[in-house]
């Protein structure tokens, strides 16, 4: 194991822009540990992102990186990876960037099963613009654009990625740092499209309006609200009710569909 993590960070960019208690740093840290464990080099690893809090991550990483337009990161990543299949391409995104404005690119990148790894920081809110509702804002949750509680059903991003054809899909949270890091590494190792969703706390824009005012309260909620996929499957198989308001976590799929963007 190579312990030289510091080389991956652009120290001259610090301090970062994230709010106190933000979970994005945890996800970035898990990602860098996973990338480093892969033995990848700075020079052939490319980080790409769209727009939003999550998407500022590549700016703090010392590789070549593209901070692109809102929702479009996967199309840029497709261009990079198709032109240079020998590059390792990792995309940071958020729930709004990926599933609202970027939804079409997401499902098609999954369908193509292009060999990139996508890490989604799902904070259930548009954080950068001050806390508007996203397709992942839970029903009933308060945001600046759902002042009476969100009324629309949410997207289950992991289910979506799986249905659309991704080779590797898992979901964890910023409470499950070790599991998350291992899942990201498994995604990096798996040829084809890998999708790792991390439920990520946003105390400033989400928690503040939803009785979860501190980061610790939000992380505690991630622990109590997470249910392993195996347990959920067992409950369902036994005909027992699955408690409401639970995030299923764990590895959803790891398979070998034909892939795109791999060096022949």
């Amino acid at each position: 194991m190579n312990d030289d993590y510091e080389k991956w960070y652009r120290e001259d960019r610090l301090p970062h822009i994230y709010c106190p208690g933000c979970g994005n740093g945890t996800v970035i840290n898990a990602t860098i540990h996973a990338v480093n464990a892969m033995g990848w080099e700075l020079d052939n690893t490319i980080f790409i992102s769209g727009i939003g809090c999550s998407s500022r991550a590549p700016g703090y990483i010392s590789t070549d990186s593209l901070h692109t337009t809102h929702g479009r990161a996967l199309s840029f990543a497709t261009g990079v990876k198709m032109a240079r299949p020998d590059f390792n391409v990792v995309v940071f995104t958020g729930d709004g960037d990926l599933s609202a404005i970027g939804g079409n690119h997401f499902i098609h990148a999954c369908r193509r099963n292009i060999d990139i790894t996508v890490i989604c920081m799902n904070n259930m809110i548009y954080g950068m613009t001050g806390g508007q509702g996203s397709p992942c804002t839970p029903v009933g949750a308060i945001s600046t654009t759902t002042p009476y509680g969100a009324a629309e059903p949410v997207f289950d991003l992991a289910e979506l990625a799986m249905a659309a054809g991704a080779n590797y899909v898992s979901r964890w949270t910023t409470y499950h740092v070790k599991e998350l890091t291992k899942a990201i590494q498994a995604g990096l190792e798996t040829p084809g499209f890998s999708f790792i969703e991390s439920m990520t706390q946003c105390p400033t824009s989400f928690g503040r309006r939803n009785n979860l005012r501190t980061a610790s309260l939000m992380v505690e909620q991630m622990r109590t609200c997470s249910m392993l996929i195996q347990k959920k499957n067992r409950l369902e198989a036994e005909g027992k009710p699955v408690p409401p308001h639970r995030w299923t976590v764990g590895e959803f799929v790891r398979r070998n569909r034909p892939v795109l963007g791999v060096k022949p």
Partner: protein
Amino acid sequence: MQGNIACAEGALAAGCSFFGGYPITPSTEVAEFMAKELPKRGGVFIQMEDELGSAGSIIGASWTGARAMTATSGPGFSLMMENIGYAIMTETPIVFVNIQRGGPSTGQPTMGAQGDMMQCRFGSHGDISIIALVPSSVQEMFDLTVKAFNLADRFRVPVFLMSDETIGHMREKIIIPDEVEIVPRKLLEKGELPFKAGPDGVPGFPQFGMGYGVHVTGLTHDERGYPEATNPEVHANLVKRLVSKVESKRHEIADYDLVNPEAETVFITYGPATRTVRQIMHDHPEKNLGHLNLRIVWPFPEKLLEAFPNVKHFIMPEMNLGQMVREVRQHTAVPVISVPKIGGEMHSPAELLAVLEDLS
């Protein structure tokens, strides 16, 4: 050969190795030809899910050092505007081919038009400048596509081949040379800041995978490439440089035919109307007409208007309701007669002769 195929041949001759596209009439022949030819030559063709994706994919490919392009028409072109702005802000060399059709909206998919001349120049938000070329023959579809790649790499700016259905679907004999002139992209000197430009305003290109560790962002950025979005000075300096690196070279890169500068009546054309004007000048030498044919319309080379010392009238036929005529009018005190035509067909000689009759 068909105009659209000549465009694709030009791209291949120029070393284009990446095409990201989405089908749209009347441009699809470009994509179809690239889909057939690029894989044979080690290049990449990818059909994206929409035109936003097409534009994103070619920008991504360009950062790996590839010469990359897409081809589209009006509705697709509208969808590309945001990523065009990103390419301008990040100084990404790419080529957009727009085989224009009648608009607005779905309009006339199979008919020619020049309704996007202002959109290519001003369509993306913010203060921008780009380069736009307009062919008037199948040969120029080839030649100007090669030129578009060279200009994109030299200036690190999106370059637009603003053709239309008329020329795109025209068939003519052309000469494809064994070799074309290639002006390669200038790489960044190691140790230099990635977005610090020299006197020409164009920084060296920090190609991905070569150890530059460059951060590319559409946010206002400093010379290191780092976001600096609230500093008025940084923003003003960056955007002024992006505009002036193109505008300051407008006379140097001007590409045109200037015929009979002594004339009193002078046609200014770009694209299909060039052919009509040449026809009436051939048929009516007694009318002593002058002609300025522009192959590069943006940045606009306004000094060329001074090349006609005796001119009493400029006449501008365009396949729109009068777009480039606005640019011409603001640079000359000479009356400029707009001859707009929409509906999908190019100007006939009779229509232009009628304008001359009205003048006399």
